[in-house]
Point group: C2
Chain length 302, copies 2
């Protein structure tokens, strides 16, 4: 079962305490697609400029990632530049050059319209809805968003959320969207907006999922060397959705394993700049890290 | 197998967004003792003033908590006053009146000297060592400390840590003690100071344990109504040590279940002011919450 993903493909310039990477491949849809492609074929919808070349495309080649939906427009590719604090726990955006992404109107190729799994990356919620209107009968719609849309386009976002099954956001976004500080109350308020399942990403503190069958908590893997957190959330989403799609469903046990799979993928992502670590990864390493998560969290019943 | 605990018995005045409690029972040894007493007999060593009356003692009565070591001195009992922020994630200390606690020199009654499980609450590290010198042959020594001692009495603390098996501290303390921001590196540095097992408390984000057999991550229970976080860390320690002592050992599986037991106790503690919720608790409720932690964290292997 394939996944349709709509989001950004971008150049990132990233500075961490350990080094700097200039104009490397980034963007939510890039991280998502590569992570999901370990499990199922991915149909990628995004836009790049004329400056986006074969070297960048190489990251997607040789993987089950279809590029028919990767539009090329006159102009420059979206470029984001950020700098992390010494502890990697906060970052400053140095510049955001939207370029061709500013006028992005996702066009879903005919071949993608039967997609059963859809991931709406972090774009204008009105555009997220336009994507859904071009898809025939999705089985699972998952969605990301950010504070910018919660603040500025709340009505549009609420309309979109009514059509979303799974919302993946971080804890501060969940609090802002719900107006509730307590995370359990926040989850209940967000369920009432539409999504039956809410996956709250807490960075180094892991993930909390609230589904129709209850709550599930997963830690982040305690890593000795975190090199660059950029893309970890999108990589999580890709691993999560990829695993779900490969199992064709979203029962509670599949959702839980999908959270762990997403966490495993994200734990590799942060080990290097850009998609460097993901591109060297194989399924055996992923499954081994899934096993480490099992060992990390297991305890016997009393 | 009984536990010896040395720490504070105090009056707390606590203000949270939900109310205020004046001069209620508090102190690390109070929370610890009541939590541990669900599992094993507890020998309590602390000091109170002449103002500490039968009403306060009632909390310990009817439980297997021996009070021979609860010294009564001329003067007033230790009083701490704090106020929590609207989100309960930070607190300001309004006043700390050490009173009789200032000159506390723990004297271990003869009947306590054969204790096999010892918990050194957060007091001057030189005093923690004096306690150890009065105990014959402890099997497990666990210890708490705080930034105040890490900053001001590091050499003394290091001498104490060489004799400690299990150190229980929070994440900011682990970083300060080790000089390492990364928590895995911090754990390695602390192991080198003596404690073979390190339990890092992260509040609403749960617990990370680094033991000789690897790492274990446990979430905090996602509660809808957190009323007052005061004493949660000491309650965790009490549940943790109580469970370990009741099993007479500290193998990896017992340590992991002890972390969950401590987390379960702590999740009750925060539901009310002071020890109010703990004092109404029974073992059946504790075991039921242990079961909820199992459900909260369980996923199937792939």
């Amino acid at each position: 079962m394939s996944i349709l993903v709509v989001g950004s493909v971008a150049y990132d310039t990233v500075e961490t305490p350990f080094g700097k990477a200039e104009r490397v491949l980034g963007g939510s849809a890039s991280f998502f697609s590569v992570a999901a492609s370990f499990f199922v074929p991915v149909n990628l919808v995004a836009v790049v400029g004329r400056d986006f070349g074969d070297a960048q495309l190489a990251a997607f080649k040789g993987r089950p990632i279809d590029l028919e939906g990767l539009e090329r427009q006159d102009g420059a590719t979206f470029h984001w530049q950020g700098k992390y604090s010494y502890d990697l726990n906060s970052r400053d955006t140095i510049c955001t050059e939207l370029n061709v992404f500013e006028a992005f109107k996702p066009k879903i190729p005919a071949a993608y319209r039967k997609s059963e799994f859809v991931f709406l990356g972090n774009i204008d919620p009105a555009l997220q809805r336009e994507v859904l209107e071009q898809v025939e009968r999705p089985k699972i719609v998952a969605c990301d968003t950010m504070n910018f849309w919660i603040k500025g386009r709340l009505d549009e976002l609420k309309k979109t959320l009514r059509r979303v099954d799974i919302l993946l956001i971080n804890d501060s976004e969940a609090r802002e969207l719900s107006g509730e500080w307590n995370i359990v109350k926040a989850a209940r308020a967000i369920h009432a907006l539409g999504p039956k399942t809410l996956v709250i990403k807490k960075g180094e503190h892991g993930v909390l999922m609230f589904s129709p069958e209850g709550s599930f908590a997963a830690p982040a893997y305690p890593l000795e060397d975190v090199f660059d957190p950029t893309g970890a959330g999108d990589t999580f989403a890709g691993g999560f959705m990829g695993y779900l799609a490969s199992h064709g469903g979203h029962g509670e046990e599949a959702l839980r394993r999908a959270v762990i799979m997403g966490s495993a993928l994200a734990s590799f992502c942060v080990e290097a700049f850009s998609l460097d670590r993901l591109l060297k990864l194989d399924r055996k390493e992923i499954d081994a890290r899934f096993g480490l998560f099992k060992r990390l969290t297991h305890f016997e019943a009393i």
